[in-house]
């Protein structure tokens, strides 16, 4: 079986990407696109974690508040083969606390609620923050470009 153009057996893990960012999804071999706010991405990830997936990257941003950034992209990994019901406790703890942070937020941003120009910037920054991780996990097919000074 090929995944990202590479035989799966070469790696002990395979990865998946959950995102509500269309521009980012377009740069990936395969992405699970979530049509909804960032919180929906987190909840989808929680479901995956309960079925044995682990978070590759932290579910919170490093400098953007949930009430600013409408986009969220998560990379999860799974050990090859079926992992059954072994749940990664740390991932679960992280995703639950991230969900709590997002749910606590009084202002909810949804994709497309900003002027197009700024919306694209948010998509772009979401991409740049995950670019390195996506690359390392072999999920990235091409880079998202964005020119300055529109």
């Amino acid at each position: 079986m090929l995944r990202g153009g590479v035989p799966v057996d070469l790696f002990p893990f395979f990865y998946t990407c959950l995102t509500n960012n269309k521009n980012l999804a377009a740069c990936l071999e395969e992405a699970q696109f979530v049509d909804g706010p960032a919180l929906s991405v987190l909840k989808r990830a929680r479901d995956l974690i309960h079925s044995g997936w682990e978070l590759e990257a932290n579910p919170l941003y490093g400098n953007l508040k949930p009430n600013q950034q409408p986009y969220r992209t998560l990379v999860l990994k799974s050990k090859k083969g079926k992992t059954g019901l072994l749940v990664d406790h740390y991932s679960l703890q992280l995703i639950e606390s991230a969900i709590a942070v997002y749910s606590d937020c009084k202002i909810t941003r949804v994709p497309g609620d900003m002027p197009e120009d700024i919306d694209s910037d948010y998509k772009y920054v979401d991409f740049t923050l995950m670019e390195e991780t996506l690359k390392n996990c072999g999920l990235l097919r091409k880079s998202l470009k964005r020119t300055a000074g529109r």
């Binding site: 400098n63 900003m114 000074g149």
Partner: protein
């Protein structure tokens, strides 16, 4: 390693024929020469230069970085190594400092970018850069260049300008008003220097999440480093440079890296209450594996040097809270006592959880304040930069720009307001 900072006091800035510091402390700047020096036609369509002084009715936004003008006049290397100077190691010899001056760069890298510096009024109480005499550079990108190239061009232009100003002052015969000496001997000696005093190091966390959230050490993107030792004096020569454009309140601008208050405070107590043995830099990456690796490695270094205590400072919020807590937890488990410096995102009403992570070991925390607090900034007579973006800046929200020109924002929008290096007096308490 010994470094002398030769400080020339700057009390005002004005344009002039020659770049120099007058007897009365006025920094005169030849605007044309300055602009010619920093020009970058390939990436920057235009560069404007303006002056903003403490107390003036001026707003600068969106501020990208602030840099203190410095220039090495003795010793190896030159300021901002690996960025605008050669990669040679710095931190030794003599460095001329224009104390009280700053180069402030202003450019819209992304549309939602924040960063307000008000030179007077309510906002000026919160930003450190209302107290400095600022030469403000305003950038417009060349058409068609990519965002990351634009960020880099802005970053380099600011550094060049800062170095240039200090260099001109030196060459025009500027004389220092005071000299500060910073010295820590080699480990073999420093380790035995003050028997009886606890050995203390500083664990210096750098924001390294990705483009527009990066920090550079000797020109290297710090997300690709393993935690390492750095001499505190190196930071004074600009070995650490900010490439961070997001979250104005708690991104560490290059200015605060150059003037790291933790390092200054540790030096102040050095030989009296503590034996300050060094600085460990570490990063704040996004993947869990990187976080685990870096926190374990950094604490291991601290352990190798047998330190008794660590001051740990964070940069940013959200997932870096996890790094902060890991660093703390692992250090305490290794028997090293820690004090953390962070800021809080407790919501506008202050009732939410301040940090995204917590540990019982984190029993000694200094806070730089709740960044969600709302402030109303009065209208200013002059605006440098672009205010139409204030409506969507990080701390702002729809309607934050009022018809009368005042803006209602979260503290987060104000540059350096909750600096997690502990640069300010702002804090928070439980009511």
């Amino acid at each position: 390693m010994k470094l002398e900072l030769m400080k020339v006091n700057v009390k005002s800035v004005g344009w002039g024929d020659r770049t120099e510091v007058l007897k009365d402390g006025t920094l005169k700047v030849n605007k044309k020469e300055l602009l010619a020096h920093v020009t970058d036609e390939e990436n920057l369509k235009s560069i404007g230069a303006e002056i903003a002084l403490p107390g003036e009715s001026v707003r600068i936004t969106p501020v990208k970085d602030a840099i203190q003008p410095r220039y090495k006049i003795e010793g190896c290397g030159q300021v901002f190594p690996g960025m605008v100077s050669d990669v040679e190691s710095v931190g030794e010899g003599k460095t001329l400092v224009l104390e009280g001056a700053a180069v402030v760069t202003c450019g819209r890298i992304v549309g939602f970018q924040e960063g307000i510096v008000d030179m007077s009024g309510k906002g000026s109480e919160y930003t450190p850069f209302s107290k400095t005499c600022n030469v403000v550079l305003v950038f417009e990108p060349q058409e068609g260049i990519e965002v990351y190239a634009y960020e880099k061009a802005c970053r380099l232009a600011g550094l060049k300008a800062a170095m240039y100003l200090a260099k001109c002052v030196y060459e025009s015969g500027g004389t220092p008003d005071k000299t500060e000496t910073y010295e820590i001997p080699p480990f073999t000696r420093s380790m035995n220097a003050f028997p009886g005093l606890p050995k203390v190091a500083y664990l210096y966390m750098l924001q390294t999440q990705g483009l527009l959230h990066d920090t550079y050490v000797y020109g290297i993107d710090a997300k690709r480093i393993l935690p390492t030792m750095i001499h505190p004096n190196e930071t004074m020569d600009g070995a650490i440079v900010s490439g961070n454009c997001v979250s104005a309140c708690d991104k560490n601008s290059t200015y605060v890296h150059q003037n790291n208050p933790v390092i200054r405070s540790l030096y102040e107590r050095h030989g009296k209450d503590i034996n300050f043995v060094g600085v460990i830099i570490t990063n704040e990456n996004v993947t869990l594996a990187d976080k685990r690796r870096s926190s374990s490695y950094a604490v291991k270094i601290a352990g190798m040097f047998g330190v008794d205590g660590l001051v740990i400072s964070e940069e940013g919020f959200g997932n870096p809270d996890a790094d902060l807590i890991m660093n703390c937890h692992k250090a305490e488990k290794a028997g090293i006592k820690t004090v953390l410096i962070t800021d809080e995102f407790a919501g506008r009403d202050g009732a939410s959880q301040s940090l995204a992570d917590a540990a019982p070991e984190a029993n000694a925390v200094v806070t730089a304040g709740n960044a969600n607090m709302i402030v109303v900034l009065p209208p200013m007579e002059r605006v440098i930069g672009f205010t139409e973006y204030v409506n969507v800046i990080a701390g702002g929200f729809d309607g934050s720009l009022k018809p009368d020109g005042s803006i209602e924002v979260e503290l987060q929008a104000i540059t350096g307001a909750t600096c997690e290096l502990g640069f300010n007096k702002l804090g928070a308490e439980t009511w």
